[in-house]
Amino acid sequence: MTKKVLLIEDEPSIIQAISFILSRDGWTVDSHADGATAIEAVARKRPDVVVLDLMLPNRSGLDILTDLRANAETEALPVLMLTARGQKRDREMAERLGATLFMTKPFSNAEVLASVNALAGAA
């Protein structure tokens, strides 16, 4: 059974890039662009790993992460956080809220792939 990754991201070209990289490695990739409905998407898709953008329309990635960690079913779900803002404050906040890994855009493809695989292995 292939592993599932849910990509919560609103930038279409980035969705395309990450989808290509991960599916080429055998991952089943779903994407979701709206922050407001992201939690339902996680519940519905039941992914093994979540890649979560920090800046999303309608709801911030940090809020989504907080909700995920508050729910018993998703509290151990591996989450890779992405941000384009590159501020130290964001990284600290994300780690405190329970992000498993944190990555600043732009990233190398290999880095993303290794991170997601590592998260899957840990889980």
Binding site: S13, I14, Q16, A17, A33, M55, P57, T104, P106, N109
Partner: protein, 892 residues
């Protein structure tokens, strides 16, 4: 028979003895060995100058003429000493604490250091004392004449004797009365000399009395028989005169300048008053004991002789020559002691209240050496003494040895007691004012002079007989000896009644009508409450309490730690432990200096003085305190103003800081936004270029990825362009290329650059060609930039199934409005103002390469063009209104 020469020799020897006694006492005092000089006995004896030659010789004469009435002269002071001791204590207390130098000084001080009052009282004293001195000169001259050959008993001879005596007394008084200038005005030598004289006159009078009762008569029983047989027994008590005389004598004890001198000024210890209160009446009793016997025996033994000289002539005629000599010395003592003290007292007043003020006024330059002033003051005293004695002599010379002199004593009394209302009122009534005191004094003085003093020179001497009989200008109501028609009264009673009544009335009424000045208030309180101002405790225990008080005060002023350190150190230096050093002058001086640093010199001085009780706080001190306080208030006001200014500055700084903080927050968020806007396309570019480099993608994928890379690169470029453009616009470094163009031309260009030819599908643009012909003076490129933004926004965000945009131009007079209205769902009210801020995209989904800077740039451009861009609500879809000035407004 004792020769005149012997008398003169004895006189000289006696005077020499007085000199020696006075000199010795002065020396003892100078060495600080006051000892018995300060005994209550000496104090009491010095009070005996109340008994002058007038009482020594005159009492017997008085008794011969008026029976027991002479006793009133002794009863008055006795009653005051016994019954009014509290008043005397108050007087002495004030005199000591306020360093009063004379009765004029006392009155002047009490009423706010009024020199006018000082001058008034001084004049009163001079006028009241001069006849009295004349009386003493007369009695001495007469007593000399008793021993002189019959031929020399002429007015001329008497006159010469009086002159010599006056000159001699002047020398003695100057020598011992102005030897040094002391703040306390105490003259130990003089006091000692008059104490001796007091003993001599008492012993002399008692000796004559014993001689008369047991030598001439056959003891007391015989004397009583003789009294019964004499006219004295028939004398009746005139109640009015008795009351008046007792009042006068009692008041004189307080008001006479010489009595004030010995009782208050020369007083060295207030407790001496207690002794004097019984010893002085006893002295008076002894002085009066043999008056009646001598008078009775004199009248029967020496009919036709002058009764005023019985004391002298009785022993002389009965061949008790040495007793006569003693009696002469007694009379001489009485006269000289009175003259000396009176001259000192009056000269002090004259020099302090008349000579010195004039001298100081004449010397315009206020600054002078202190030694200079001392010499001047002493010289003024000496001249004053000479002047006072000369006046006395002149009075004697002019009035002759007539009967007028007999009543001089009482007339003088009546004059000086005019001070009484102002004095007693000042001591007990805080409401008494300077105006009241001056008014009372003037009116009392005038009435006394008019009703008693001037008429006393005899009919026609000063006042015309006509005036005495019928009043001035025939006004009977103003007859000097029958004011308001009250006639048939004894002139003395009449004068005393009217002068004192009017004096007191005017004093009280004017005091009630006028208001005391600040100095007067302070002095009034100080005088009236003199006992409340002083601590009862004395001596060693007081010193300790004093140090504690001082420490308490110092702690309050310079702070506990510093004060304790200072006191502890001072105590250690004195070889004591603890915090309470002895209050030595050196320590007090140091403390004062220390305090002065905090509260000012005057205040410090006043505080320390008040606490130690060493020096009274003078009005000058208090005024200086007030000055300092005013200065401090001024300083404090300045500080307050400065503090307010600082407050304003701090507020401004806070505002600026707040603005900076806000700017900093804005800058952070701007940078964070830019970072996001740059990193997002770069992420795509990097990811896809890595995929392409790996070469794993198929042909169609490769083309798609290359296209994405291309688009993202354009997006990045546009973002950078926008950022630079905004930066230039915001910094105001834009150069406008103005031209007059028609709006249609600008709108055409805008549409053309947003819709590349051939791609316009499904987006309808409706225009108003007629209105578009309007010409505007503007920068066509910049205006087109704004239009492009608005048109491309409508294309990007209008979500209607058949999107359309209306461009409506209308002429608004000075300006033209261009509205861009699409048929989408518009912008919610909450976002309508936000959209013009940087990076204020409402949704991230529909981005088509914009970085959210478009409308911000539009706003800046329109501001530069002198127009505006606003959101136009209520138009169905999104609607923006661009206002363009037509031509006149040329924004730089």
């Amino acid at each position: 028979m004792i020769s005149l020469n012997l008398i003169i020799a004895v006189c000289l020897a006696y005077v020499l003895l007085l000199f020696v006694i006075a000199a010795l006492a002065e020396r003892r005092a100078a060495n600080g060995r006051l000892g018995w000089l300060r005994s209550p006995v000496v104090y009491t004896l010095s009070l005996s100058i109340y008994c002058t030659a007038w009482t020594f010789y005159g009492a017997v004469g008085y008794a011969s003429r008026s029976g027991l009435e002479f006793a009133t002269i002794y009863l008055g002071p006795t009653l005051v000493m016994v019954g009014w001791l509290w008043l005397l204590r108050k007087l002495v207390s004030i005199g000591r604490t306020q360093k009063i130098t004379s009765i004029a000084d006392l009155i002047s001080s009490r009423y706010g250091k009024s020199n006018l009052l000082g001058v008034l009282v001084t004049l009163l004293a001079v006028v009241g004392t001069t006849p009295y001195i004349a009386l003493q000169l007369q009695s001495v001259a007469l007593s000399f004449a008793v021993f002189a050959p019959a031929a020399s008993d002429t007015p001329a001879a008497l006159d010469r004797t009086a002159l010599i005596v006056a000159a001699g007394l002047t020398v003695f008084t100057i020598l011992f009365g102005t030897r040094r200038l002391d703040a306390n005005e105490q003259h130990h030598g003089v006091v000692m000399a008059i104490a001796l004289e007091a003993v001599v006159k008492l012993v002399a009078l008692l000796a004559v009395g014993v001689f008369v009762v047991w030598g001439v008569a056959d003891g007391p029983a015989d004397i009583f028989d003789r009294i019964e047989a004499s006219p004295i027994a028939e004398w009746r008590v005139d109640t009015g005169r008795w009351v008046t005389l007792i009042f006068l004598a009692g008041a004189a004890l307080i008001c006479l300048p010489r009595m004030f001198q010995v009782m208050v000024v020369e007083n060295s210890d207030e407790r001496h008053l207690a002794t004097a209160s019984w010893a002085f009446p006893l002295y008076l009793f002894l002085m009066s004991l043999f008056v009646i016997p001598i008078a009775v025996v004199g009248m029967s033994t020496l009919p036709g002789e002058n009764p005023d000289l019985y004391v002298l002539t009785l022993p002389l005629r009965l061949n008790a020559e040495w007793l006569a000599l003693l009696s002469f010395l007694g009379g001489f003592s009485s006269a000289t002691s009175m003259v000396i003290v009176a001259a000192i007292a009056v000269s002090t007043m004259v020099s302090n209240h008349i000579v010195m003020p004039i001298w100081l006024a004449l010397r315009k330059d206020g600054a002078m050496m202190s030694g200079d002033v001392r010499d001047t003051v002493l010289m003024a005293r000496r001249v004053s003494i000479g002047a006072v004695l000369l006046l006395g002599y002149l009075y004697f010379h002019l009035s002759g040895s007539g009967a007028a002199l007999a009543a001089i004593g009482l007339i003088s009394f009546a004059g000086v007691v005019q001070v009484l209302p102002a004095l007693v009122g000042g001591l007990f009534w805080r409401g008494a004012t300077r105006t009241g005191a001056a008014g009372g004094l003037v009116i009392g003085f005038a009435v006394w002079a008019y009703t008693l003093f001037l008429p006393s020179f005899g009919v026609s001497a000063v006042m015309p007989a006509e005036m005495l009989a019928n009043g001035p200008f025939g006004l009977a109501a103003l007859r000097p000896q029958a004011l308001l028609g009250i006639s048939g009264v004894d002139p003395l009673v009449h004068a005393v009644f009217w002068s004192m009544t009017l004096n007191t009335t005017v004093f009280v009424v004017l005091s009630l009508l006028s208001f005391p000045g600040p100095l007067e208030r302070v002095q009034g309180a100080e005088f009236v409450n003199i006992f409340a101002h002083r601590s009862a405790a004395q001596g060693w225990s007081r010193s300790a309490a004093e140090a504690e008080d001082l420490l308490a005060m110092a702690q309050r002023i310079i702070g506990p730690a510093e004060a304790q350190t200072m006191f502890q150190r001072a105590a250690a230096e004195q070889g004591k432990g603890g915090y309470l050093p002895d209050t030595t002058p050196a320590f007090l001086e140091r403390l004062e200096r220390q305090l002065a640093g905090s509260v000012g010199a005057a205040t410090a001085h006043a505080m320390v003085g008040q606490m130690t009780g060493e020096t009274a706080v003078t009005v000058e001190d208090l005024m200086a305190v007030a000055d300092e306080t005013a200065q401090m208030m001024e300083y404090s006001n300045q500080l307050e103003a400065k503090s307010a200014e600082l407050g304003r500055t701090a507020r401004q700084l806070r505002d600026v800081n707040e603005k900076l903080t806000q700017l900093s927050i804005q800058k952070d968020s701007f940078l964070s936004q830019i970072s996001h806007e740059l990193r997002t396309p770069m992420t795509s570019i990097r990811a896809f270029s890595e995929i392409l480099m790996e070469g794993g993608a198929n042909e169609s994928e490769r083309r798609r990825f290359a296209h994405i890379i291309h688009d993202e690169t354009i997006r990045l470029t546009r973002l950078l362009d926008d950022l630079l453009d905004l930066s230039v616009l915001e910094n105001g470094q834009v150069t406008l290329n103005r031209a007059v163009v028609s709006l249609s031309e600008v709108i055409d260009r805008a549409i053309a650059s947003t819709v590349p030819p051939g791609t316009e599908r499904g987006f309808e643009i409706r225009r108003t060609p007629e209105a578009e012909r309007l010409q505007v003076d503007t920068d066509p490129d910049r205006l087109a930039q704004v239009f492009i933004n608005l048109i491309s926004n409508a294309r990007k965000y209008c979500a209607a199934p058949e999107p359309s945009l209306r461009i409506v131009v209308s002429d608004q007079g000075g300006a033209v409005t261009v509205d861009f209205i699409d048929n989408g769902h518009g912008i919610p009210a909450s976002g309508q103002t936000m959209i013009f801020e940087k990076f204020a995209r409402l949704t991230d989904q529909a981005r088509a390469g914009g970085a959210g800077l478009g409308l911000a740039i539009c706003r800046e451009v329109m501001a530069k063009l002198g127009g505006a861009i606003t959101y136009l609500p209520g138009q169905g879809g999104a609607a923006f209104r661009v206002t363009v000035p037509r031509a006149e407004a040329r924004a730089a």
